[in-house]
């Protein structure tokens, strides 16, 4: 080391510093935005602690932190032990055993998360294991252990085989030799394995998402389902995580001897505490429960708490990020009492017999529902569905850039080369084809392959001439920041954006658009129909519906609430008042598998180029 001269040391430090900026820039940004006064994650509007307050008051996030931490700790401990002994045993085995294990290992590491996730989900469903904390933990051990083996095994290979023999010649039992000699020599590898396992587990999203259930969610799941309504609460959480790690590092640097001396005791105490907590969390109080599955950030959480207090019950509330992922979960055996999907998905669930009829006599508040949104084609007599939020699809435009006169172009505005590079399409197969079909004057539920082909061409031409971006829910934040001039949005998202950015306005083209309705439905698995119907009735109570609508920004199906809010809270926000019943509007219908597959293939071709 003495040979290292000063000049090269400066170079080293400089290089390391530059890369650390690269590593930490996003983290610093995350921390800074945790103090943002508005909801935006891209635009700093002022300083506030409101997200920290919300974090502390948000029970579901605190629970998720607990789940993430304990699952990561248990999974790390178990997979480290399992992985290390396997790695040690491995080098002493016949080639065939070695190859089998190494290959199984590699396959797990190499399979895309989504494949592992689906595989495990099918497994847990087929052995009828209740999804929740236990399945999540098992899955985490399953994907962490191979990493530990991979980290430790190279160290075992470098080990001198004579060492263990020497220890045993000197009178050590094989177990003592293992603990006192071999494992200490593998310390670096084990340490790397621990780090890897913990990191992988703590950060995992896809696998956890598929194997969990019964209201058990980790941080990643909460974040992912928040994408619809991102807000800095999670940034506040990350800031706390980072600071905690930093403090731990400082403490361990300042008092290393103390820590080292009491390490074992500390670990033991922590372990006992965790086990206790896990058991505590696992036990659930008796009484009535209602299991609800809703889109992320699609309810005012206070309303759930008030419902629990009023009906003396426990609500197990879980969220999904799209109708399709909800369907995948239901199909694979997840059980809920109430679902809140969209119209076309409800139609599919009805056809595939997942739902049971609602007894409208138990929902007196239904009298307040807007008549225009009842009896839509997906459920003509509303046998199964109780409307939750309603709206349309339209174009959100920046009034400072888009010429009012151009609005008469309707959907063709999205192909007006004046606005090249200024367009966000919505990354949804059905909505995009709806636009293209309507622009060509066809029904959005057409089954005519010629018409579909024309719509496909429309989308291809638009893609090539306009440089469009197919954005997901990130479009909300992007439009609040004013990144582009035009975007296809749901009316509710439009209203939300317009509240945050006053330059934006919303319109529905005259060629017709999609009228949609998200509704509450009761599954066949429902264990407490009375409570489920009480919840549906509760959500339609004018006062409750008003608070929910203000919180989420979507249009309430309760007439008096929608009217009041349009004149007060959402005054001047055109997107809050979608134009229902416009002559060419339609609702999505059910698609047979073959047609669905055809659309999916075409949509893949539109997007992948």
């Amino acid at each position: 080391m003495q040979r290292t001269n000063k000049r090269s040391k400066v170079l080293y430090i400089l290089y390391i510093a530059v890369l650390f900026v690269f590593f930490y820039l996003p983290i610093v940004v995350t921390m800074v935005f945790s103090f943002n006064s508005s909801k935006s994650l891209t635009h700093m509007t002022g300083f506030s602690f409101r997200w920290y307050e919300r974090l502390i008051n948000d029970g579901s996030i605190m629970k998720a932190v607990y789940v993430s931490l304990t699952v990561a700790l248990f999974a790390t401990v178990i997979s480290t032990i399992l992985g290390t002994i396997t790695a040690i045993g491995l080098s002493k085995n016949k080639k065939i055993v070695k190859d089998v294990i190494m290959n199984i290992n590699n396959i797990t590491i190499m399979s895309p998360d989504i494949v592992t996730a689906i595989g495990l989900m099918i497994l847990f469903s087929s052995i009828m294991m209740a999804k929740g904390y236990m399945t999540m933990l098992l899955a985490h051990i399953a994907f962490c252990t191979p990493y530990v083996v991979t980290a430790v095994y190279p160290k075992v290979r470098q080990l001198d085989p004579a060492i263990a023999d020497a220890a045993m010649d000197l009178g050590a039992t094989p177990f003592q030799a293992l603990i006192k000699v071999i494992i200490p020599m593998l310390k670096d590898g084990i340490y790397a394995g621990i780090l890897l396992a913990f990191t992988m587990s703590f950060d995992d999203f896809v696998i956890s998402y598929f194997v969990t259930g019964n209201g058990v969610e980790n941080i990643s799941i909460i974040v992912y389902n928040m994408t619809k309504r991102t807000n800095p609460t999670i940034n506040a959480l990350s800031t706390i995580v980072i600071l905690t790690i930093a403090i731990l590092i400082v403490i361990s640097k300042l008092v290393p001897s103390v820590l080292r001396k009491h390490m074992k005791k500390l670990l033991a105490v922590a372990g006992v505490l965790l086990v206790g907590l896990a058991i505590f969390a696992g036990t659930r109080s008796g009484g009535r429960t209602l299991r609800i599955y809703n889109a992320g950030e699609y309810i005012d959480p206070e309303l759930i708490e008030e419902f629990e207090a009023e009906y003396d019950c426990k609500v197990v509330y879980e969220t999904f990020d799209s109708n399709e992922s909800m369907y995948t979960k239901i199909k694979s055996g997840a059980e809920y009492d109430i679902l809140i999907p969209s119209d076309y998905m409800i139609e599919r669930l009805i056809k595939e017999e997942f739902l049971q009829p609602v007894n409208w006599n138990n929902i007196p508040n239904a009298k307040g529902l807007n008549k225009e949104i009842m009896g839509m084609p997906y459920d003509p007599d509303n046998t199964y569905s109780v409307p939750y939020f309603v709206g349309t699809v339209g174009i959100l435009y920046d009034t400072t850039i888009v010429d009012e006169k151009d609005l008469s172009e309707g959907w063709e505005l999205l192909r007006d080369e004046k606005y090249k590079g200024q367009v966000y399409m919505y990354d949804s197969e059905r909505d995009s084809f709806m636009i293209a079909l309507k622009a060509n004057g066809y029904s959005m539920n057409t089954e005519d392959y010629g018409e579909i082909e024309e719509a496909y061409r429309w989308l291809i031409e638009q893609r090539d001439s306009m440089d469009v971006v197919y954005a997901g829910d990130d479009v909300i934040d992007n439009m609040i920041s004013g990144n582009k001039a035009l975007a296809v949005v749901y009316s509710g998202d439009g209203a939300y954006i317009m509240v945050e950015n006053e330059n934006m306005d919303y319109f529905e083209p005259e060629q017709g658009t999609n009228e949609w309705c998200d509704a509450m439905v009761m599954t066949k698995d429902c264990r407490d129909e009375e409570l489920a119907e009480a919840f549906m009735n509760y959500m339609l109570d004018p006062e409750v519906a008003e608070r929910n609508s203000v919180f989420v920004g979507y249009t309430s199906p309760v007439s008096c609430v929608a009217d009041t809010l349009a004149a007060t809270e959402f005054e001047g926000i055109s997107a809050y008042v979608p134009n229902f019943g416009a002559p060419k509007n339609e609702a999505f219908g059910y698609q047979e598998m073959k047609l669905k597959q055809h659309f999916a293939d075409l949509w893949t071709k539109v997007k992948a180029y």
Binding site: F23, I107, V115, L120, K331, Q597
Partner: protein
């Protein structure tokens, strides 16, 4: 050390139950049709031939190119970083490596959101460039954004194994090389680089795996039109609901990765054997 060969048994049983069985189920899905209903199941290879269509081959190619580019960038940046870190004294090294690991504890999705706010048209980097009178550039929804996001996510997985393997190189070997007249470059090429190959291979494997199967980062930073093989699989399982085709693509992806890794391992082994032989000859 024969005593320890039974230690693999728990894992053997465990892995058959919780790793092998699900894989067999996925293989079953890939060679059948009839959706998820077991009633009208029938065997077919159609799911595999479908991947031969130009559009899917294009997706495959794009994923491989992106994987190759990000792994190469990680290798260069990561090797240099790992090498420079080993130039410091032990306690500083531990601290630096810890600092490399910390970002991995912050949720990937969140870090990707942070990149969006940095890279967007009205974002922080463009505001910064604006201070110097430069025009705003479009970073978001380009290859550049996806590569940046991906590299910042997977770089630690390259740095850590390489650092571990350089660190444990016996100092006396390097000194011996220098005493025997090797200059700095020679010492580095013949000793340090050569002996760090296992770490490099580990790092390349990890980053390759992570980059080729990613789907959240391209979705957020590249937009919906940034279709990679991971997105295609996710699409088939979640949006389209065609588990059979999704399983077939997963198997193809797994096969590609297996081949890639076997080649890398073979390279590693040949290298080792060559060394051993040379040692013997001496």
């Amino acid at each position: 050390m024969k005593h320890y060969n039974k230690l693999v048994r728990p894992y053997l049983i465990w892995s058959v139950l919780i790793i092998l069985v699900p894989i067999i189920m996925i293989v079953l899905y890939s060679v059948t049709t009839g959706g998820n209903a077991l009633v009208n199941i029938s065997f077919t290879l159609k799911n595999f031939t479908k991947i031969g269509e130009p559009i899917y081959l294009e997706v495959l190619k794009k994923s491989l190119v992106l994987g190759f580019v990000s792994v190469s960038i990680c290798l260069v940046l990561g090797y240099i970083l790992a090498y420079f870190i080993t130039k410091f004294k032990d306690s500083v090294q531990d601290l630096l490596i810890l600092l490399v690991t910390i970002p991995m504890w912050i949720n990937t999705l969140l870090r990707t959101y942070a990149w969006i706010s940095l890279l967007s048209d009205n974002g922080l980097i463009n505001s910064f460039l604006g201070l110097f009178g430069m025009d705003a550039k479009t970073f978001m929804y380009t290859d550049f954004a996806v590569v940046i996001g991906l590299v910042s996510d997977i770089l630690p997985f390259m740095v850590i194994p390489i650092h571990t393997s350089i660190r444990k190189i016996d100092r006396s070997l390097i000194e011996a090389a220098q005493d025997l007249g090797a200059d700095k470059v020679q010492t580095f090429m013949k000793v340090t680089l050569k002996m760090s190959i296992p770490g490099v291979i580990n790092g390349v494997m990890m980053t390759f795996l992570l980059s080729i199967s990613t789907f959240v980062i391209p979705k957020l930073l590249g937009g919906g039109q940034y279709m990679l093989i991971g997105n295609l699989i996710e699409n088939q399982f979640i949006s389209v609901g065609n588990w059979n085709f999704g399983s077939a693509i997963s198997i193809i992806l797994t096969a590609i990765i297996l081949i890639g890794l076997t080649l890398m391992k073979k390279f590693d082994r040949d290298d080792r054997e060559e060394e051993l032989e040379r040692a013997k000859n001496k």
